[in-house]
Symmetry: C2
DNA sequence: TATTTTGATAGATTTTGTCTATGTCGTATG
DNA sequence: CATACGACATAGACAAAATCTATCAAAATA
């Protein structure tokens, strides 16, 4: 049994006429006769009543038709879906760090969509910390994630796309406010608004202070970097935070940290050697060409 | 696209290994590779991730698989149904006159089923009058009907299978009770229990009385011949009814009608030159061989 | 009875599914 | 580090089958 026979069958069932159906199918009439005869032989059932003026489905033919129509309908919608995907349509499951969700990812996605006029690509956005993101990537929950690098992951391809410095922010009226750079040791006399335990950056900043062998006084512990910045602006303390555009709009002074040096790199991560759906492949190419460092 | 490719696809999706799947499918491994490659080319989508140790479905592959599995399941159940029908299984839609439903049809069906040990043939029974039965036959509502003949129906094949006499029944204590035959004229002095207007036999018996130029006195009008017989047994009148076995068990005397002569023939009717499902064909053959007159 | 219509049949041709043999790539192994 | 092996792809030959054109047979129409 073959698909084309089933397609011929449904067409013939519509027209009830071998000649007309063959014409509709763009084949010769004997081909259709042959195909239907073969189908009937295989099923052991007569599907059409060949009458003098026209043909018509038998009882079994009608019964079989209902199965075939349903099956073909499902199959065709599957084929259609695949063809849409192959033409670049599709959903890109994007994972990223919360920090990147503020401006980098939205701008990147918007840029990409602007360039892809006719294609209908949708993004699904998922923010999390690096560990779960990479786990999700390996489980194919995400097509692509933007996060920090973990060197032990041999099966993942990392392409650098963005970096972020850590800066000190202080209220405008603070003693350190007119400095351009500071050594982290100089911040120790002042109470800090600090990242909370469960925040991704807590570990990083702890390590930074470990390099100078001291920990700061902690006035408040907060998860969100934006909240930290807000508290600093209101004079609740000083803080080490990743640089973000938003800081410029707040009532804080931004000061470079001269020592210890630290730079945080962000990477686009995909499974190494793994097939990427066309839409994802396009997006990856776009990021490499326009936004990689 | 071909059916076999879809079947290969589902098998490969189960094993995730070209070699193993090919073995399961009883084909060579390159054939499978070729078939899948062709499917992928046609859909424009990569369905399998070929990895070093084993293969696995891509995201699109999983999506397509769900469609294909559903479609094949429906198609296969359709094929199975057809194959069962071709092996003689099936439902026979049987239409017949109510009269025949008392003993003739049940006995015929039981005889047939007794002879068809392993086959699972079921009957659907529908009783009606001749006109609607033949109409239903032409509309393929019934596969076969048992009724009286209508000569104008050129598209229907009638095969005689049973006949039935009209007899006079009277209560045991009736003046006519010890007669063996009567002329219908002799029944006119006595009140009749008569078939109602909408009964199939009313016309027939009216015509019978028209032959002697008179109509009887009507005491009661009833549709069902068995109810008529019951009323006669209880002394409500006399009646002309078709002969049935049941009459022997009632408290009535059965008397032949010597004049006018009348005989009612019953026929098995099928659409002329029309394809019959195997189960129906078998039953028709059985009736012709064992029960036709 | 001749003609038209409809579908089946026959034989040639082309397509395509399947096979065997071999190649390539990447991983394990000595 | 080279070799062997496992897993899939590729190439070319062969066989099966789907399509075509031409023709036939049966039934209905004129």
């Amino acid at each position: 049994m073959n698909l084309y026979q089933l397609r011929y069958f449904t067409t013939l069932a519509e027209t009830n006429h071998f000649g007309k159906a063959a014409e509709k199918l763009c084949i010769a009439q004997p081909s259709l006769s042959h195909a239907i005869a073969q189908l009937e032989a295989e099923l052991g059932v007569v599907l059409f009543e060949r009458k003098n003026r026209s043909s018509s489905l038998t009882k079994e033919g009608r019964q079989f038709l209902s199965y075939v129509e349903k099956a073909l309908e499902i199959l065709d919608s599957g084929i259609q879906t695949m063809e849409r995907i192959s033409h670049g349509e599709g959903v890109i499951e994007l994972g990223f760090l919360r920090t990147l969700g503020i401006s980098f990812i939205p701008e990147l996605a918007a840029d990409f969509l602007r360039e892809q006029k006719d294609k209908s690509i949708r993004f699904e956005f998922h923010s999390d910390t690096s560990q779960p993101l990479l786990q999700g990537l390996k489980e194919e929950k995400y097509d692509m994630v933007f996060c920090t690098k973990i060197d032990s992951e041999k099966s993942i391809e990392f392409i650098p796309v963005s970096k972020q410095d850590l800066v000190l922010i202080v209220p405008r009226a603070h003693p350190l406010a007119n400095r351009y750079t500071v050594d982290l040791t100089e911040t120790l006399p002042y109470p800090h608004v600090y990242f909370a335990e469960n925040s991704g950056l807590r570990v990083v900043i702890d390590q930074l202070f470990d390099k100078i062998g001291k920990r700061p006084q902690i006035a408040y512990e907060i998860q969100e970097d934006q909240v930290i910045a807000g508290l600093v602006a209101q004079g609740f303390g000083i803080a080490v935070v990743p640089y973000m555009e938003e800081l410029l709009r707040l009532n804080v002074k931004i000061i470079q940290i001269s020592y210890p040096y630290w730079e945080r790199n962000f990477y686009m991560a995909t499974l190494k050697g793994h097939y990427l759906p066309p839409a994802v492949q396009k997006f990856k190419q776009f990021v490499i060409e326009k936004h990689s460092l």
